[in-house]
């Protein structure tokens, strides 16, 4: 079966102050198979949200290719984009901002079906009720407004709306970052369950490595517009290859004081450089604990090592 999502050498540059473009995404390739969940992790400004926006056509690629179910989004016209968006739906971080406060929950969830002439009247109401139940809410919630719900419930409503068109690809950009711990677990369980029930592909963007570990089959680590490493979850978390992946994993504070205090500390020094003026050679060399001369001058190739793909001269 062909891939649900195929991104090849994607570049997305934004105009920056002083003439230099912001190279938010600067040559990313990845694919997601049917039924697969790919995690995309990285720190703020690494370009992970730009990749997810490009996947549903919310930003246009500067160059490279984004194919959803074989349809090219780069340079696509409005009609093609509209067709693709029926198959690729998005869930954003902040459920409060994602819902129109003046629309009932039922109207919000039914809107994707209504605007595409896929249901009206009783059939539409039945489908909305189904969707509400599917995300753990009750059919009678359809007549209420978003402000009558808690943050976790609102994220359930957003997810129900994203599922309305039975998408082949669900793009989730930090879907649990705005939620409290106890609610976060409910939403993660829901996403895992929905994905296995519907067999969707999922692109799961997050800064939280533990959350990504929990829901993803494969994980891509992004740094300053480029992928550093991409590997199956169990490989990436047990045998990270790239020094940035290692540092990220070491920096996660784990909720276990004994383990946490025994953990070797690989403290990265310095700050994340600006994507308007990325470092030469390997972009990570300014913070890398093991960088040598070649890292400063030569961009490391993206290559296979075992089951992983990695961009590092020293792996």
């Amino acid at each position: 079966m062909s891939d649900t999502l195929q991104i090849t050498d994607l570049k997305v540059h934004f105009p920056g102050r002083g003439g230099e473009p912001i190279r938010a995404v600067d040559g990313v390739s990845l694919s997601i198979a049917p039924h697969e969940t790919l995690g995309l992790v990285g720190e703020s400004g690494c370009g992970k949200s730009t990749v997810s926006n490009a996947t549903v056509g919310l930003v246009s690629p500067t160059s490279g290719s984004v194919r959803v179910l074989g349809t090219e989004l780069a340079g696509a016209n409005a009609r093609t984009l509209r067709a693709v968006r029926a198959r690729a739906q998005m869930v954003f971080q902040d459920p409060v901002m994602s819902l129109n406060p003046r629309m009932t929950v039922g109207a919000a969830i039914g809107e994707p079906l209504l605007v595409r002439n896929l249901g009206r009247g009783i059939a539409l109401r039945t489908r909305v009720a189904e969707l509400l139940e599917e995300v753990g809410l009750r059919p009678e919630h359809a007549s209420r407004y978003p402000h009558q719900f808690s943050g976790g419930q609102r994220q359930r409503i957003v997810i129900a709306r994203a599922l309305a068109l039975r998408p082949a690809l669900l793009v989730c950009d930090e879907p649990v970052s705005a939620l409290d711990v106890s609610v976060r677990a409910q939403i993660l369980n829901l996403l895992v369950e929905l994905q296995s029930r519907h067999g969707m592909s999922m692109l799961f963007v997050s800064h939280d490595l533990a959350v990504v570990r929990h829901v993803c089959d494969r994980v891509a680590v992004m740094y300053l517009g480029l992928l550093a490493e991409l590997a199956p979850g169990d490989v990436l978390y047990s045998k990270p290859l790239h020094p940035y992946t290692k540092a990220l994993l070491a920096a996660v504070p784990e909720p276990d004081p004994v383990m946490q205090r025994a953990k070797p500390r690989v403290l990265l020094t310095g700050e994340i450089p600006s994507p308007a003026n990325p470092p030469s050679g390997c972009r990570f060399h300014t913070r890398c604990p093991i960088a040598i001369d070649i890292c400063r001058h030569e961009v490391p190739a993206w290559r296979h090592v075992g089951n992983s793909q990695v961009a590092c001269h020293l792996v």
């Binding site: 720190e43 703020s44 808690s150 976790g152 409290d180 711990v181 106890s182 609610v183 976060r184 677990a185 409910q186 993660l188 369980n189 895992v192 296995s196 800064h207 939280d208 490595l209 533990a210 959350v211 570990r213 929990h214 829901v215 993803c216 089959d217 979850g233 169990d234 978390y237 540092a247 990220l248 994993l249 070491a250 920096a251 996660v252 504070p253 784990e254 909720p255 276990d256 004081p257 004994v258 946490q260 205090r261 500390r265 403290l267 990265l268 020094t269 700050e271 994340i272 913070r287």
Partner: protein, 317 residues
């Protein structure tokens, strides 16, 4: 035994008629990091504001004492309190860029905490910037917050808070707005400062990972009350309140089996208007019985320095 650096006793805070913090108490020793952990709305941030006497006008303290060493600061004048803030007791906040003055240079703001002009305080400011790990302090001194990253602004705020060598530092979600690699740097910095300067640190956080990383002791708050408090290791190894236990079980971990079910807590945190009689966690608690909804569990001793407010704590051992 010397008095703890900070002790809070029977502190209650109210908005109108709604009691949002209900009779909490804890103490922090010199050189100790004490975490107050809980979800949004549990009252942890206003507790921090109450200790600094920086409560918004709508919130009143209805009972309780707050002692720095032997001095009860609830009894002193605002003028006397101003002499304490920034000298004996300082605070840092979640959003460093919002807490710093955008128009003043870094150096001026740090010197201000000493109540000195930068011209006189420059050597001390320079040394302080070095101590919080800011490279090239001679150049940074004359820069403004917008020229610095979020992580560096947080270091500057820590420098402002610590240059007068306070005995107590209140840190309200100090690493929450930061990326994980920068968070690790800032937590390391706080840990070292607590150890080297013997500062007592009250750390307000929602993140059990941060607690595990740097806190010596922890108080878990739920709906305006302390559910459980004690040494960090003891609480993580054997929580004695169902809320703590469920909270810990609901956190995704790096060692998890992917796609396994996480423990969840049904329902949601009650709002102050919904606080009824009995245990406030009762309607979400798998162990709750009739007693829990009628009788408020008192915080009681259950082990060395370990306290819980649960009628069923014995059954959890």
């Amino acid at each position: 035994m010397t008095a703890p650096a900070l002790s809070v006793d029977n502190l209650s805070l109210a908005i109108g008629d709604a009691v949002v913090v209900d009779g909490i108490g804890f103490s922090v020793a010199q050189g100790e990091v004490m975490a107050i952990v809980g979800e949004s709305g549990c009252g942890k941030s206003i507790t921090a504001q109450a200790i600094m006497r920086l409560l918004p006008p709508a919130i009143r303290r209805t009972s309780g004492t707050i002692r720095l060493g032997d001095d009860d600061i609830t009894a002193i004048s605002e003028r006397a309190m101003q002499a304490i803030r920034g000298r004996r007791m300082s605070m840092i906040f979640q959003e460093p860029q919002a807490a710093l003055d955008p128009l003043a240079t870094i150096g001026t703001q740090i010197a201000e905490a000493l109540r000195q002009p930068l011209s006189r305080a420059r050597p001390a400011v320079r040394k302080m910037l070095e101590d919080v790990g800011i490279s090239d302090p001679d150049r940074r001194v004359d820069q403004r917050p917008f020229e610095l990253s979020g992580g560096m602004c947080q270091r500057v705020m820590i420098a402002c808070a610590l240059i007068s060598r306070p005995t107590i530092l209140i840190a309200d979600e100090p690493s929450t707005a930061l990326d994980v690699t920068i968070q690790a740097q800032v937590l390391d910095l706080l840990r070292h400062l607590a150890i080297e300067r013997r500062t007592a640190v009250v750390l307000i956080t929602h993140d059990m990972g941060v607690v595990a990383d740097i806190a010596n002791r922890v108080a878990v708050m739920y709906a305006g009350r302390i559910a459980e408090s004690g040494p960090t290791e003891a609480i993580f190894a054997a929580p004695r309140h169902p809320y703590t236990a469920l909270l810990l079980a609901s956190i995704p971990r790096l060692s998890d089996t992917p796609k396994s079910q996480l423990a969840t807590i049904e329902g949601r945190v009650p709002t102050p208007a919904e606080y009824g009689s009995g245990c406030r966690f009762a309607n979400r608690c798998p162990r709750a019985d009739a007693r829990c909804s009628n009788e408020t569990p008192r915080l009681r001793s259950i082990g060395p320095d370990h306290f819980t407010a649960c009628h069923h704590a014995e059954a959890m051992a």
